[in-house]
């Protein structure tokens, strides 16, 4: 079994784009191959496409071959699309990793795309609502903001987390995204502005929520022993963890404590042979401010219930205990569902290379984790990336 490296990444500018999903894919594809030496689309033998709901957002299914066609790849080993809602991109990377590890593929592209803006935003909201069990929870309008609203309510109720603590996550991530040229939102916000922004679903204000975003991003995976042929600065995949409980609200483990995240983290650290203290960069799934707070807890950076204090104490900033979302996270960069995990994985590679604005550079980072969650936070996925082969 071969170890596997990521040797390149490419991304389209994220945002409310005056572009179709296929325009976005072409932009990401071009950027991807410009990011690597000695490798053209024709060398790629496999493509793993992450896309959450093209059937509805783009009225198009079976996007994997179209993506390949638009970026100039002819898949001759493996091709499929993976879907795991907001984690579709990481699922694509995970399968690419396994297929390169077994030798079924030698050079693989994992690429995500989601076009979320469409003429009628109520229709897009309807689509967001079928990520929960549509017949039993979606029908009650439990889509992303409401399920994280009740999650926040329970966390506040059980642990005393405050709206101000949650707002700090938004402030931090908008600050970093203001320094990230591909980010959807590039304006800083204040705690006051977060608290005064329109209420979406109490206790969540608008700036507690990530935006709707169009985007596409890709990475290239090769066997570790081949990596240096393509770049001086590859990034190695050294571990992963994934855990899911039922997605029907009744069958969630607990609203205020994400047990599946703790189990996924434990497995990720075990397989990577690291501990939480080895993590220098954590690109985590801050779809809502409460999410990032609960991720500090679930990833073991602080105790359960102490996530609010963790940010109040300045711990998740660059230079703190661990740099959380130096990209600006989902909150700042946006959340094009199928592409998000791939944007964030590429961010870790850029950090390792030192190829980011110095205001958000995590100097000397050796280990980065990319965490994504999906659905009612019933499922958590973690990739562990290393600057050195270990």
């Amino acid at each position: 079994m071969r170890q596997v490296a990521i040797v390149a990444g490419g991304e389209a500018k994220a945002g409310r784009r005056a572009a179709s999903w296929r325009d976005l894919v072409q932009e990401a594809g071009k950027a991807l191959f410009e990011d690597v030496d000695n490798l053209s689309p024709k060398d790629v033998d496999s493509i793993f496409v992450g896309a959450a709901q093209p059937e509805r957002f783009a009225f198009l299914s079976y996007v994997a071959p179209l993506v390949a066609e638009h970026i100039g790849v002819t898949p001759r080993k493996v091709i499929a699309r993976t879907e795991l809602a907001c984690v579709s991109g990481q699922a694509a990377i995970r399968y690419a990793w396994n297929c390169v590890a077994t030798g079924m593929s030698d050079i693989a592209v994992a690429i995500g795309v989601e076009k979320m803006y469409q003429p009628d935003m109520a229709e897009a909201q309807t689509t967001m609502t079928c990520v929960l069990d549509r017949e039993w929870d979606g029908v009650n309008c439990f889509s992303a903001p409401p399920i994280f609203a009740v999650t926040a309510q329970r966390h506040m109720y059980e642990f005393g987390t405050t709206k101000e603590q949650m707002a700090l996550v938004s402030v931090k991530n908008h600050h970093y995204s203001s320094l990230n040229p591909i980010a959807h939102l590039q304006k800083e916000v204040t705690v006051e502005a977060v608290l005064k922004s329109p209420m979406v679903a109490p206790p969540l204000n608008l700036f507690d929520c990530c935006p709707m975003t169009d985007g596409s991003a890709g990475v290239i995976l090769v066997p570790a022993e081949e990596a240096k042929k393509y770049t001086d600065t590859p990034m190695y995949l050294i571990g992963s963890g994934q855990y899911a409980v039922g997605n029907v609200i009744n069958n969630l483990a607990n609203l205020a404590e994400w047990a599946p995240l703790k189990l996924a983290a434990k497995e990720a650290y075990r397989t990577a042979k690291i501990t939480k203290d080895d993590v220098d960069i954590a690109e985590v799934h801050d779809c809502f401010t409460i999410s990032e707070i609960m991720e500090y807890e679930g990833l073991g950076f602080c105790e359960t219930g102490k996530g609010g204090k963790f940010i109040e104490d300045g711990k998740p900033y660059i230079g703190g205990k661990v740099a959380v979302n130096p990209s600006g996270g989902i909150m700042g960069c946006g959340h094009p569902l199928g592409a998000t995990s791939i944007y964030h994985t590429f961010e870790i590679l850029k950090q390792f290379r030192g190829d980011v604005d110095m205001g958000r550079y995590v100097k000397g980072a050796e280990i980065g984790i990319q965490h994504s969650l999906s659905g009612a936070a019933n499922q958590h996925s973690i990739l562990v990336c290393s600057r050195e082969l270990r």
């Binding site: 509805r56 009628d120 109520a122 229709e123 909201q125 309807t126 967001m128 609502t129 069990d133 549509r134 017949e135 039993w136 929870d137 979606g138 029908v139 009650n140 309008c141 439990f142 889509s143 903001p145 409401p146 609203a149 009740v150 999650t151 309510q153 329970r154 109720y157 329109p198 209420m199 979406v200 679903a201 109490p202 206790p203 969540l204 608008l206 029907v248 609200i249 009744n250 069958n251 969630l252 609203l255």
Partner: protein, 161 residues
């Protein structure tokens, strides 16, 4: 250019709400093996399936126990009174079919040992608190399908017209 024919074409302007935008479950036995749930609901009973073999209470209703794979399931009445475990109010971003209702409360109700999501009628967000008692309420759609909601006790205690 003069060689190219132009023709105006027509399309239907309005269509019925398609299945892929209709949140309420199909209830007819042509489409589901758990249509009994909706029959019970029409009679005022919120029920679910319980495994006769291992005792597991299953939500949503099943045809096979996901714990022990037995097919011997029975309908279990969850009662009519629940307790609010958590709630919020939809103020922005409602899906098609619900936009007209904004703002409205939704929540998670502890009832009969389960946690069930539902619309919470008869209250604004500010009126509610965790632990409030709520009562079963049944809504009837124009096409004769039914669904459950809960309402705050205050509303519930009014005489039904």
């Amino acid at each position: 250019m003069s060689m190219v024919k132009f023709e105006k074409i027509k399309r239907p302007e309005k269509i019925g709400l398609p299945f892929m935008l209709d949140f309420y479950p199909l209830q007819d036995e042509k489409y589901t093996r758990t249509s009994q749930f909706f029959k019970n609901l029409k009679e005022g009973h919120l029920t679910t399936t319980k495994c006769k073999k291992c005792g597991e209470l299953l939500w949503p209703p099943r045809v096979i126990c996901s714990n022990c794979h037995s097919e011997k399931l029975e309908w279990f009445d969850l009662g009519t009174e629940g307790e609010l475990y958590a709630f919020t109010e939809i103020r922005l971003g409602a899906p098609i079919g619900f936009v007209e209702d904004v703002p409205f409360c939704i929540g998670i109700v502890r009832i009969g040992g389960l946690l069930i999501s539902a619309r919470i009628d008869g209250a604004k967000y500010e009126d509610l608190k965790i632990g409030d008692k709520v009562n079963l309420k049944i809504v009837e759609l124009p096409d004769s399908r039914v669904f459950y909601r809960f309402s705050r006790n205050k509303e519930q205690k009014l005489p039904i017209p």
